[in-house]
């Protein structure tokens, strides 16, 4: 079973990387850019047939490692 996880910085956390990317893009002439924030993306494959169990597992991975809940949010999607 395959999932994707996106991890993004919480709203009030500074995103230096996103900000630098934004500046670069604006310098490249993309004046219509309003905002850009950067996060992480994971493609995960599990050896688990039961979709409930699998999802719970992914959730556990996020909590335990993939996201730092103090500064980040995460979102799980089934692929």
């Amino acid at each position: 079973m395959k999932f994707s996880v996106t991890v993004t910085l919480k709203k009030d956390v500074l995103d230096p990387q996103g900000k630098a990317v934004q500046n670069t893009l604006i310098n490249l002439g993309m004046s219509d850019l309003k905002s850009i924030r950067q996060g992480k993306f994971f493609q995960i494959e599990l050896n688990e047939k039961d979709s409930k169990k699998a999802e719970a597992r992914i959730d556990e991975m996020c909590k335990k490692l993939l996201a730092n809940l103090i500064i980040e949010d995460y979102k799980i999607d089934k692929l």
Partner: protein
């Protein structure tokens, strides 16, 4: 005084800190991350480097290793803990220190000598320094941009938990003297009980006049008191 240095795969300042500790007469032991017990120590150091490649987030994977549980236990029972650079990042990942270290503002690795100011000289780590003393210490990191919640920042200020701030030669803390974009120029912080210090600059690199200077020595000798 007994010290332990925790070694993760990818740690690379472990030897440097061991040299510094031994030079200052600590009885030091290296502890491998897969070990499940810590030797009896008065001081535990988490050294700099790129533990587990700093993949995912710097310090994140090390923060989940077996030995960390022991470090947390020791910390809670009052043992002194020093996290330098990657060690600081690991301490924030474990929650022993609050806040986080984001990418440097210029998105580049920075290695150079910077000035930092001693903000509190009444702790076990800093008693040999003068208050507001300006030190010249080497930094070397990609993610040293300290960030924390407003609430925690207030707490840091109120309880005098800011250890060091980046400054210029004269001790002014301003944007120009801030190498990485850290909140309020913060270069190092204590936990509320002040037995844990996390700092981005590398005091172990500043113990030898032939190589650099000796501005780091007093941090270690403070601990010996």
């Amino acid at each position: 005084m007994k010290s332990s240095v925790i070694v993760f795969p990818g740690s690379n300042c472990d030897r440097d800190i061991a040299v510094a500790l031994e030079k200052l007469q600590f009885k030091n032991q290296m502890v491998w991350h897969k070990d499940t017990s810590l030797p009896k120590s008065d001081l535990i150091v988490i050294p700099g480097g790129f533990s587990f490649g700093d993949y995912l987030r710097s310090g994140a994977i090390a923060g989940k290793s077996l030995i960390i549980d022991e470090v947390i236990k020791a910390a809670n029972s009052g043992c002194l803990i020093l996290g330098i650079c990657n060690g600081f990042q690991i301490l924030t990942e474990t929650g022993l220190l609050k806040g986080t270290l984001l990418r440097n503002k210029n998105l580049r690795f920075i290695n150079r000598d910077v000035n930092i100011k001693v903000m509190n000289n009444k702790t076990k780590f800093s008693s040999k320094y003068e208050l507001n003393q300006v030190l010249k210490i080497n930094i070397a990191h990609n993610e040293g941009n300290y960030f924390t919640s407003n609430q925690h920042l207030e707490e840091l200020k109120k309880d005098n938990l800011i250890a060091f701030k980046y400054c210029d030669e004269k001790g002014n803390t301003n944007e120009k003297s801030n190498p990485n974009g850290a909140l309020e120029n913060i270069a190092g912080i204590y936990n509320s009980k002040k037995n844990i210090l996390g700092m981005m600059p590398h005091p172990e690199r500043m113990i030898d006049d032939i190589i650099s200077n000796t501005d780091g020595v007093n941090l270690f000798s403070s601990l010996l008191n």
